[in-house]
Amino acid sequence: MDTILKLGRIDRRVLYILMVVLLLWPLIKPLGLPVSVSSWTRQAYGKIDGLKAGDRVIIDFNYPAAGMADVHPQTAAIFNHLMKKNVRVVAIAFVDQGATIADNLIRSWEAQGKKYGEDFIHLGYLAGGETAMAAFVRDIPKAVPTDYRGKPVSSWPIMEGLKTAGDAQMLMYFTTSLLPETWIRQTSQWKMPIIGGVITVMGPQGEPFLQSGQLAGLLVGMRCGAEYEIMSKAPGPAVAAMDAQSIGHLLIIVFIIFGNIAYFAERQGRKRSGL
C-alpha cells in the first residue's frame, strides 16, 4: 500500500532526469517508428505545390530563436520547396529575432546559387506588431523603405509591381505567438491564400480558421515539419526527432497513470478508515 501511495509523490526531479535520459536515447539510436502524413500537411503541400515559377510569396518570420525547434523545420522545408519551384520569396519579420533567422536561411540559399534581390529579398524587422502590419500591407515600399541590407527596397527587381500585399500570390506566416486572425484580418480585402505555420500549442486555435477557409493551409509544429520533409522527399532533423517525441509522451502518460493509481488508493484508504 505504501509503495502505491509513493507513486503519487515522486519528486519532480526524478521525472526531469528520466526525461533527459529517455529522450536522448532514441536521438542517439533512432527507433525508426513510421510517421504518417496528416491531412493538414497534405493540404498545405498541395496549395504550395500549385504555385508557379515566378510567383511571389510573402513570408513573415514571426518567431524568435527560442521557438525555432518547433516551427523552423516547417519554414526550412517549405523554403526548400519554394526554391526548387523557383517561387520568389519576400521575407519580412514582425518579431525582431525573426529577421536574423530569415537572414540565415536566405544566406544559406545564396550560397547555393540563388540571387538576392531576384529570387528573394529580406525586408528586415518591422516593429509595432499589428499596427506595423496594417501599414505594411497597404504600401510595402513606404512601410519598408530600405531592406535588411540597407539598400533601397525599390532598387531590386523582385519588388517590381509589388506595392500592396495583394500583389503577391500567397502569404505565409510562421509563428510562435501570432493569432491566426491577425493576417486574415489585415489581408481580408484581397482574399489571398494564407498558410499559417504555427507551433504545436496553437494548432487547435487555428483549426476553426482552416475549416472556415480563411486559412488555405495550416501546419502545426515539428510534427508537420517532419511530415513536410517526408512529402517533399527530403527527410531532415524533424523526422529524426519524432522517435524521441513518442518516448516523451509515453513517459508523461506513465506518470499520469502513477499519479491516478496513487490518488485512487489514497481515496480508498480514506474511505476504509472512515474519513
Binding site: 506588431g129 499596427t131 510562435t176 493569432l179 500549442v201 486555435q205
Partner: protein, 257 residues
Amino acid sequence: MVTGRVTSFVILVVIFAAIIYNMQRAKTRLPQMRRIAGLDAIEEAVGRATEMGRPVFFTPGMGDITTSTASETFAALEMMSYTAQLTARNDTGLIVGVAIANVYPLSEQVVEQAYLQAGRPDAYHDDMVRFLSPTQFAYASACMGIIEREKVASTIMAGRFLAEAMLLAEVSSQVGAISIAGTGSEYQLPFFIAACDYTLLGEELLAAGAYLARDPVRLGSLAGQDWSKLLALVMVLIGAIMVTFNPKPPLLDLLKK
C-alpha cells in the same frame, strides 16, 4: 463603406447599443451578477499574503496595448488596481513584474494611484513596479527568480501570455503560492488550468474591471455583453436550423457583406 465590413459594422453598432442601453438601465435596476471565483479569490490571495507576511506578485503578461490583444492588458490593469488597493490597505508587499515597455508607465500609474486612494501614498515605492524585459524568456526568468527569492505568498497572472505561462504557473505552485491566472489566450489557458488554483477563462478576465468595480454602469455593460452573446446564440441556432432545411438560405449571404 468598405466592402466585407458592412455586417461587422452593423453587429458592432448593435452590440454598442446593447451595452450602452444596459448601462443606462442599470442606474435604476442593478443586474444580478453571478460569482466569478477567480476574481473573488484575489481577496483570499492578498489575505493569505498578509497573514504570512510575504508579498503578492502580480504580472500583466506579455500583451502590448497597441495590438488586438490590448483589451486583455486593460483588464489586467483593472485587476492590478484592485489588488494594489487591497495590498495598500493591508500593508502587504506587492511586486509587479512588467514585460512590455508601454505597459510599464501605465502600471506605475495604476499602482501609485491605488496606494493614493487607499490613503497610503507613503507605502508606495519605486521598486514595486519593476520593468523586466520585453524579451519573452528574460521576462519569464526574472519572474521565476522573483517568485522564488521573494518567497511570494500569492501570484496573480492576468493578461496575454505566451509560452512563459507554464513556467510562471508551475514555479508558483512549486513554492506553494496561491495562484490566480486569467487570459484570453486559449492556448495558454490549459496550462493555467492545470497548474493554478484559480483560472479566469477568457471573457471572465475581460469582465474583471466591471466585476471588481461593482458600480451600476459597469455592471450594466456586462449585462449588455450578455445580450450580445444571446444574440450570437440565437443567430447560431436559427442559422443552423435554416441550413438544415435549405443548404443555401438567402439570409446567410447577408453575413458576408
